[in-house]
């Protein structure tokens, strides 16, 4: 019985009313609370933001996520490493190839494997194609949110070509599931490199087309300049990554800082913004399209020959012996049913994905199934800044800001 009650005695009704007005400033003006999402044209999926507005000015924004939660991390604990590959398609479903690669690289890091050069080159090509595809949609969706629908449809034409390439490569346009632990499902189909080169060649002028339509458009600039400013410090504090971080002027690209898959061999620049507003983020994405095309040109022009799979005698049976020799057959059977016998330990691998740094943390107790798999989803982290960023902007700016953050709810909710 230690609860205490504090009582305030107010002398008369007038003073009580006065006190009430002072202690509750919200009576000064009625605020409008509107619910943006989970089904709203500019929330790109199922993001829900509860927006409190004073007139057209946002005073408070509370994101509500989880409408697309599937429990991917828990699912991963109940299946072998290879079986989880299709689930990675559904993370950032606008760049599934990049997710496949990031996941495979993470498990390979746990295994201590290094892909042969050809395998690495193919993965780089996959990653950059996915980046182009995702950034294209990011730009398109941003312009669509600002009312420029035509840019969106131009961009869809280009994505269509990328999807055709990806279909030839993996057999699926969207849910690629291309990688396996230690390699890929298949090698490049004959003639694919030339097709991809032809695509990149015709892609350069298309970037300029988008550039011409938007970059110097007065309305577009007015809508984006000094809107949704994230300072470098705030961006780092909130753990932003990818183009959103670089738009704020932080020169951090996992491909440069911590190269994987031989990214150090390719020449490309990392575009960095200066102000950290929506316009900078747009410019960074636009320039990254060009840089990705540069990487694609280099990678496609110089694909080494050789195997695409890891060949590790300790873990993998000799392929030639699987159908003829008892030992190899049993080994192969165990590999398929129980998964690869991974060593115990913890590993984190972060890849520079289109949306930011996609990290996989794997805690293995040995055996073919992870004990814990944690996905660091860049969209989730990037969206965490919304409550800080949105207040003070107009309701129309929400569309511009959400467009410029370029998130995917599949990844955010996992």
């Amino acid at each position: 019985m230690s609860a205490t009650t504090t009582e305030f005695q107010t002398p008369d009704a007038l003073a009580r009313a006065q006190q009430g007005v002072e202690s509750a400033p919200e009576f000064a003006g009625e605020k409008l609370i509107i619910n943006m999402g989970p089904s709203h044209p500019s929330t790109h999926g199922v993001l829900r933001i509860i927006v409190e507005m004073d007139g057209e000015i946002v005073t408070k924004a509370t994101p509500d996520i989880g409408y697309l939660h599937r429990g991917d991390e828990k699912i991963a604990e109940n299946m072998t490493y290879n079986q989880f590959v299709p689930y990675t398609d559904r993370l950032d479903y606008l760049a599934p190839l990049a997710n496949n690669v990031a996941y495979a690289c993470a498990v390979e890091k746990l295994m201590g494997w290094q892909l042969p050069p050809r395998g690495q080159a193919i993965r780089v090509i996959c990653c950059e194609l996915a980046r182009v595809s995702s950034h294209l949609l990011g730009l398109g969706a941003m312009s669509l949110d600002l009312g420029a629908m035509t840019v969106f449809l131009y961009i869809m034409t280009e994505r269509e070509k990328i999807h055709n390439l990806i279909e030839r490569l993996t057999g699926a346009r969207f849910t690629t599931s291309y990688t396996r632990i230690g390699g890929m499902t298949r090698d490049l189909p004959p003639g694919w490199i030339e097709e991809a080169q032809a695509f990149v060649k015709q892609f350069w002028p298309k970037i300029d087309e988008v550039d011409n339509l938007l970059t110097r458009n007065k309305i577009f600039i007015d809508r984006n300049k000094n809107i949704g400013v994230i300072t470098a410090e705030t961006a780092i504090n909130f753990g932003l990554s990818g183009p959103n971080l670089r738009g704020s002027g932080v020169n951090y690209d996992v491909r440069k800082v911590n190269p994987y898959l031989g990214y150090e061999k390719y020449q490309f620049d990392v575009p960095v913004g200066s102000v950290g507003d929506c316009y900078d983020r747009y410019l960074v994405r636009l320039e990254e399209l060009r840089q990705s095309s540069r990487i694609l040109e280099q990678a496609l022009g110089n694909v080494p020959s050789g195997p695409i799979h890891v060949e590790d005698k300790n873990y993998l049976p000799a392929k030639a012996g699987v159908l003829t020799k008892m030992e190899e057959l049993i080994h192969h059977f165990m590999l398929v049913t129980e998964g690869i016998d991974a060593p115990a330990g913890e590993v984190y691998f972060g890849a520079e994905n289109p949306k930011g740094e996609l990290g996989f943390y794997i805690n293995s107790h040995g055996g073919g199934v992870p004990y814990r798999l944690k996905i660091r989803a860049p969209s989730f982290v990037n969206l965490s800044i919304l409550p800080k960023m949105l207040p003070g902007h107009m309701v129309s700016d929400i569309a511009a800001i959400l467009g410029s953050l370029d998130f995917v709810m599949g990844e955010c909710d996992r």
Partner: protein, 431 residues
């Protein structure tokens, strides 16, 4: 519709008096002449029917044009499959109607059928009376405004023949439904009523997104009405009359306002001094017209990526269709006004001396045909402006609400005022 008719009838009475004052009869069939006022009223009803029919035709086909043009701009196909009704069907076992695809020209029919057959859902929380009234109010002003737009010249059409029976018909004002002297004021007065439809829709829906859309649009339309009204004042300073038919006549003899070509009969070089002012008027009027018709880049009331559907979020079926078509009707009226005010209405770009019959049609059936030609000229010019509206919509992004208001009040309003001042000073200098 009712207001349209009543305003037309008011015009008819005036015209009836003038016809009676002339002493001549209007319609005389086999020696029996009808009371002139009644005849003129009937004639005006016919004109109303024709003009509204053409207008609604253009409304439905500008939807098709919008879809086809946007598809062309965006590297798509657009609706190109819908032919005309019964295509491919054997009629009465006699002949088969050919399967013309006709560029999707049959599209308005399935479009409207779809909208009519949709469930008409009225949310429980709405104010039913205003909720039902709003779509009608959105559509009506545009239909009323067309009655002061001159689509042909005012030279009376006189049709007479004696066999097989005696027939005389005078059509006093063939080129316009109501030739009223306050023409442009009437147009502005009525078109500003259009905001009621949107505001009422936003308010009566009793829902937050439509409410925001309604507030935005009332602010937007009222703001741009000011600069729109001010932008046309220089024109009427130059002309000295508010009557739109007189304005077109002036442009036929002096050159179009945005292009004072020197080969017209009464062209004076001092007109060129006023040209920049009129061009400025045109630009302000054009931009304000975009804002008035709620088209991109000013489509904030219904900006779908922010306010879902804006003021018509809660509407469905034909009520939605009325908003949708009302918007296109407003677009057509804005194009009509622009053609009339700046592009010489029904007049041609050639010297009047080349085609005197065009500007002063002879009596008889030929005169009627030439009047039709004038109307077609007018419609072609109007279609050009509709294309400009479509073209801009699919090219530009959308303004933000405060930016829009800033442009309206801080830029267009002062510029329009200065333009009036400048025109007045120039006129004083010239005359």
């Amino acid at each position: 519709m009712l207001m349209n008719l009543s305003s037309a009838l008011a015009g008819a009475c005036v015209l009836g008096q003038t016809a009676a004052a002339d002493g001549g009869y209007v319609l005389n069939v086999a020696g029996y002449s009808l009371w002139p006022a009644l005849t003129i009223t009937l004639l005006i009803l016919v004109k109303v029917a024709v003009v509204i029919g053409v207008m609604l035709f253009f409304v439905s086909y500008s939807v098709v044009a919008e879809r086809r043009c946007s598809a062309a701009i965006q590297d798509r196909m657009g609706p190109n499959r819908t032919g005309l009704p019964l295509s491919g069907v054997k009629v009465l076992g006699l002949f088969t109607v050919p399967k013309w695809k006709l560029l999707g020209l049959g599209q308005p029919l399935p479009d409207s059928l779809k909208l009519i057959l949709k469930e008409e859902f009225t949310p429980a929380s709405v104010n039913k009376f205003y909720f039902t009234l709003a779509p009608a109010l959105a559509m009506m002003p545009s239909l009323i405004v067309v009655c002061v737009v001159p689509y042909a010249c005012l030279v009376p059409i006189h049709i007479a023949f004696s066999s097989p029976f005696e027939f005389v018909l005078n059509i006093p004002n063939p080129g316009v439904i109501a030739n009223i002297d306050v023409g442009i004021l009437f147009a502005f007065a009525i078109s500003s009523l259009g905001v009621y439809g949107i505001v009422l829709a936003g308010w009566s829906s009793n829902s937050k997104y439509p409410f925001l859309g309604g507030i935005r649009s009332s602010a937007q339309m009222i703001s741009y009405e000011v600069s729109m009204g001010l932008s046309v004042i220089p024109i009427f300073l130059v002309i000295g009359k508010l009557n739109l038919s007189d304005l077109v006549q002036y442009q036929a003899t002096h050159g179009w306002l945005i292009f004072p070509f020197p080969w017209t009969s009464e062209f004076t070089w001092s007109q060129l001094l006023l040209w920049p002012c009129l061009l400025l008027s045109f630009v302000i009027f054009l931009v304000s017209a975009f804002a008035e018709t709620n088209r991109l880049p000013f489509d904030l009331p219904e900006s779908e990526t922010e306010l879902v559907g804006g003021y018509h979020t809660e509407y469905s079926s034909m009520k939605f269709a009325l908003f949708f078509l009302g918007e296109y009707a407003a677009l057509i009226v804005a194009s009509c006004l622009m053609v009339t005010l700046f592009l010489g209405g029904w007049s041609w770009l050639t010297p009047a001396s080349w085609t005197p019959w065009y500007y002063n049609p002879p009596a008889g059936w030929l005169g009627l045909a030439i009047t039709g030609l004038q109307a077609i000229t007018f419609l072609i010019k109007m279609a050009m402006f509709i294309f400009v509206f479509i073209w801009v919509r699919w090219t530009l992004p959308r303004f933000r609400y405060d930016q829009l208001m800033q442009i309206g009040w801080k830029f267009f309003l002062p510029v329009a005022l200065l333009n009036i001042l400048l025109t007045a000073v120039l006129l004083a200098v010239i005359r």
